[in-house]
């Protein structure tokens, strides 16, 4: 949906101008999930009301609902409407006409997601982006999807990057730094458990996002000081990762294999990490077929959202 209908200018214009758009993950609604019980009840009520009204419904589905909460149209994903922006826009326009809705401004101001607010002001926030790559000449580059995004043809796991935000508490990020005094020839091994908090996210977009299913087979990191200027230490980081990561939810014998390279800047007094960047080098994902998909993953430290 994100690559097709939710990237389509007309659908976005209809959503903002005539509807109150909202989304909810069924996973969040499971027992013990983060969705409040009231949200689960409303989702279930709309689902049941759609069925009672004789409409198609499903777990992955768009429900067009009157202001009173009555579904008047649905677009289950498996009915070839929800992810087809042309058909979805037609359905939305039909509902707009039937309900006599007039166009207005978005009722909720669109805002980019900036990641979670850190629990502690001493934390280091890092942002991870991963995406599939393709070879263009000598280079591996992101897919050029500019012509297909927002169309039905854009459906596919390879067409958008994935992102994660991770909070490293002070006790964690300190373990990335050398334990002893620092000199221009200092070399050390950053703590692999802390490194794993970031590198567990080094997999390309897949249906499975459960980090607990990852199996870290190889993880090695080393760091070496390259310079110390005005109390700022700059170190190069090199490493290697091999991690089992299921594409779907069951074991499908797919692996991430990559070298890692990056740079770490921190105060010589270890009062804080000024910047951290790590990128994959030669990353591939696969194993259950002959083809290994090239992909890239990058970690960057970011300022926390205000």
């Amino acid at each position: 949906m994100r690559t097709s209908s939710f990237s389509n200018a007309k659908v976005i214009d209809l959503l903002n101008g005539y509807f109150v758009p909202v989304h909810i993950s069924n996973d969040d609604c499971r027992e013990g999930g983060p969705a409040p019980p009231e949200e689960r009840e409303l989702r279930d009520r709309i689902y049941r009301a759609a069925l009672e009204a004789g409409l198609d419904a499903g777990t992955v589905c768009a429900y067009l609902v009157t202001p009173e909460g009555r579904p008047v149209a649905t677009a289950p994903l498996n009915r070839d409407v929800a992810a087809d922006p042309v058909k979805l826009a037609e359905l939305m326009e039909r509902v707009i006409r039937e309900l006599g809705v007039t166009k207005g401004e978005p009722l909720v101001r669109p805002l980019p997601y900036k990641g979670p607010k850190p629990v502690s002001p001493d934390s280091l926030m890092v942002h991870v982006v991963t995406r599939y790559l393709e070879r263009k000449g000598e280079e591996l580059v992101p897919y050029d999807v500019s012509a297909s995004l927002g169309t039905k043809q854009a459906i596919g796991w390879g067409n958008l990057p994935s992102e994660s935000w991770i909070e490293l508490g002070k006790d964690d990020w300190l373990k990335l730094l050398p334990a002893d005094d620092i000199g221009t020839d200092t070399a050390w091994q950053p703590d692999t458990k802390v490194a794993a908090m970031m590198l567990h996210h080094f997999y390309p977009p897949t249906e499975n996002t459960d980090l607990a299913k990852n199996r870290m087979d190889e993880l090695a990191l080393s760091a070496k000081v390259e310079s110390i200027d005005d109390g700022v230490v700059r170190a190069r980081v090199d490493g290697h990762l091999r991690m089992k990561h299921h594409f779907y939810h069951d074991d499908d014998n797919n692996f991430v294999t990559t070298d890692v390279v990056g740079y770490l800047e921190f105060d010589a007094g270890k009062k804080g990490i000024r910047s951290l960047v790590l990128v994959t080098d030669g990353a591939t994902y696969g194993g259950n077929t002959d083809f290994l998909h090239p992909f890239g993953a990058a970690v960057r430290s970011v300022a926390p959202p205000k």
Binding site: L15, V22, L42, P112
Partner: protein, 100 residues
């Protein structure tokens, strides 16, 4: 390569939208002058790669939608303004977190 990925396609809903502090870009792109040339070259390559892989504006289209924070808020606004609700339910990671 892409056709192989299409085999995996079920319900594409993958992530987008980076929030990158402009100051962060300036800082991460800085290459200190005191390192050897080879090291500077490596650092520039690492930072360029990280920048090149960030989501583009087109890939952030999802952020142009004014999503209500939950169904309760959506229904409240719908009643208040006489607008229908567009509710999308799905399996997998929350779309807001850009990992799916």
């Amino acid at each position: 390569m892409k056709s192989n990925l299409m085999v995996f396609a079920v319900a594409s809903c993958c992530g987008l939208a980076a929030w990158i502090n402009p100051g962060e870009i300036d800082r991460t792109c800085r290459v200190l002058g005191s390192e050897p040339e080879a090291s500077q070259h490596d650092a520039a390559r690492v930072h360029r790669r990280a920048a090149d892989w960030q989501p583009t504006r087109e890939e952030r289209a999802f952020d142009e939608i004014g999503w209500a924070k939950d169904i309760r808020e959506a229904l409240r606004l719908a009643k208040q303004h006489g607008r229908p609700v567009f509710l999308f339910t799905y399996d997998g990671a929350n779309l807001t977190c850009y990992r799916c």
